[in-house]
């Protein structure tokens, strides 16, 4: 009775979103830390917007953006002869947009926690910016980044409002787990809804639980390292 398709689709969408979120989140946080520019406060506010806007509103804005008459939708149909609206790609876009602020904020905090002296020391030893970033900044910021990644994954996995707006609800094609839960619950099919809820909860719970255990072990390790 239970369909596996929404579960598989959801995990795929969340993982794909995660890749985009990781790249964008880290890039934006890095750029904001490294360079000073006038409109910084503006960008800062813009990056946080998807976190506070109701997802349905985010979804509506995305619909205007990637819809047939939207600028992005037009570019896609004109140059790539394809469309993203009502496809799983739209779900990935929705997941990326709503999870982005979580990744950005976590990464920003993680970067702030990195002591500039280490980076400067690396620079005095002749390391390029690229090398400083990968061998000093990233390893030091890693725990914060992982926390951001886990939160973003969970957020993208549970995304409903924006997803249903742009990906539509096409069973078997774009119906993700939260959508399946919503419609099962609404049509009084509480058995299916409950089962889906258990599944999505287990996935998210495992991810966050693993994060906590991992962070704890890491702290222990670094304490020992400090001692000896």
């Amino acid at each position: 009775m239970i369909e596996w398709q929404p579960i598989i689709l959801s995990v795929k969408v969340a993982l794909m979103s995660l890749i985009f979120v990781a790249i964008l989140g880290i890039a934006c946080a890095y750029a904001m830390r490294r360079w000073e520019f006038g409109a910084k406060a503006l960008f800062e506010a813009l990056f946080t917007l998807p976190l506070v806007l109701p997802p349905v509103v985010t979804g509506f804005l995305l619909l205007l953006l990637i819809g047939k008459r939207g600028p992005l939708g037009w570019i896609f149909s004109e140059y790539f002869h394809t469309k993203i609206i009502f496809t799983p790609y739209a779900a990935i876009l929705a997941g990326t947009v709503v999870a982005f602020p979580l990744m950005y904020q976590s990464t920003k905090a993680a970067f702030q926690g990195v002591d500039c002296q280490f980076e400067d020391a690396a620079r005095t030893l002749g390391a390029s910016e690229w090398r400083v970033f990968w061998t000093v900044t990233m390893p030091l910021a890693w725990p914060g980044l992982v926390a951001g990644l886990v939160l973003s994954f969970a957020r993208a996995l549970g995304e409903f409002g924006a997803t249903i707006m742009v990906a539509g609800n096409i069973p078997g094609k774009t119906q993700t787990l939260p959508l399946a839960i919503y419609f099962a619950a609404e049509s009084n099919d509480l058995g299916t809804a409950g089962l889906y809820v258990v599944i999505i909860s287990v996935i998210t719970f495992t991810a966050v639980y693993w994060l906590n255990v991992w962070t704890k072990n890491r702290v222990k390790v670094s304490v020992y390292r400090g001692m000896f």
Partner: protein, 262 residues
Amino acid sequence: MKKWILLAITLVIGIVLTGCGGNSQPNQSEAKVELNVSAAVSMKDALAEIQKNYQAKNPNVTLVYNLGASGTLEKQIEEGAPADIFISAATKQMDDLDAKNLIDKATRKNLLENKLVLVVAPNSTLAIAKFEDLAKSEVQKFAVGEPSVVPAGQYAKEVLEKLGLWAGIKDKAVLAKDVRTVLTYVETSNVEAGIVYKTDAAISDKVKIVAIAPEGSHKPIVYPAAILAGTKERKAAENFLAYLSGPEGQTVFEKYGFTMGK
């Protein structure tokens, strides 16, 4: 200067005092009543106008609307959400509450009727003039409410099944979570056509009605209304329900595309 300030203060106090005295009298004569109405979201605009008219006439009554999909409202009522009156967009939800003895059966009536229409964007160049045209290849996607949840979707599916179309075109259907979303998809041209209530099409100037579902292709779309068994404002609820089906209610409802129930 001082005199002017004194005069101003006196004036303000005078206005405030007389203002209070004038307003408070009718309020004290009747106790304030708050009436919770859970109604299908497709009645939103008609109900908003009725709220204005009714509260102007009955200043002691405050109408509090909870608008949503009928299935959601039903669930909320089952879970004990505060509601005095329930107006559903289909009989199913009312029947369910009826079976659970959550409504006052004697007060149940078919308040309104609605029709189902096929809509397209006004600038659509596709030749869509009847429901059968949904099967054409130019129609890549069309939107209807999710049949298991949205009554309008339930009726749409029924019409399409009756016309022998559903099995062939259901892969092109985007199943929206409410009628408003169907309209949004049509308005923004992201689907070639949508099936909504006549009343919904009537309030959007960005869609155009191209066909009305043929007589007999679906069960009559009735909006049953009833007072809930758990109400504490029985009298006020009865008055409001009578007002809705009376001439003043009818004027507003017909303006928004409804037909009065029989």
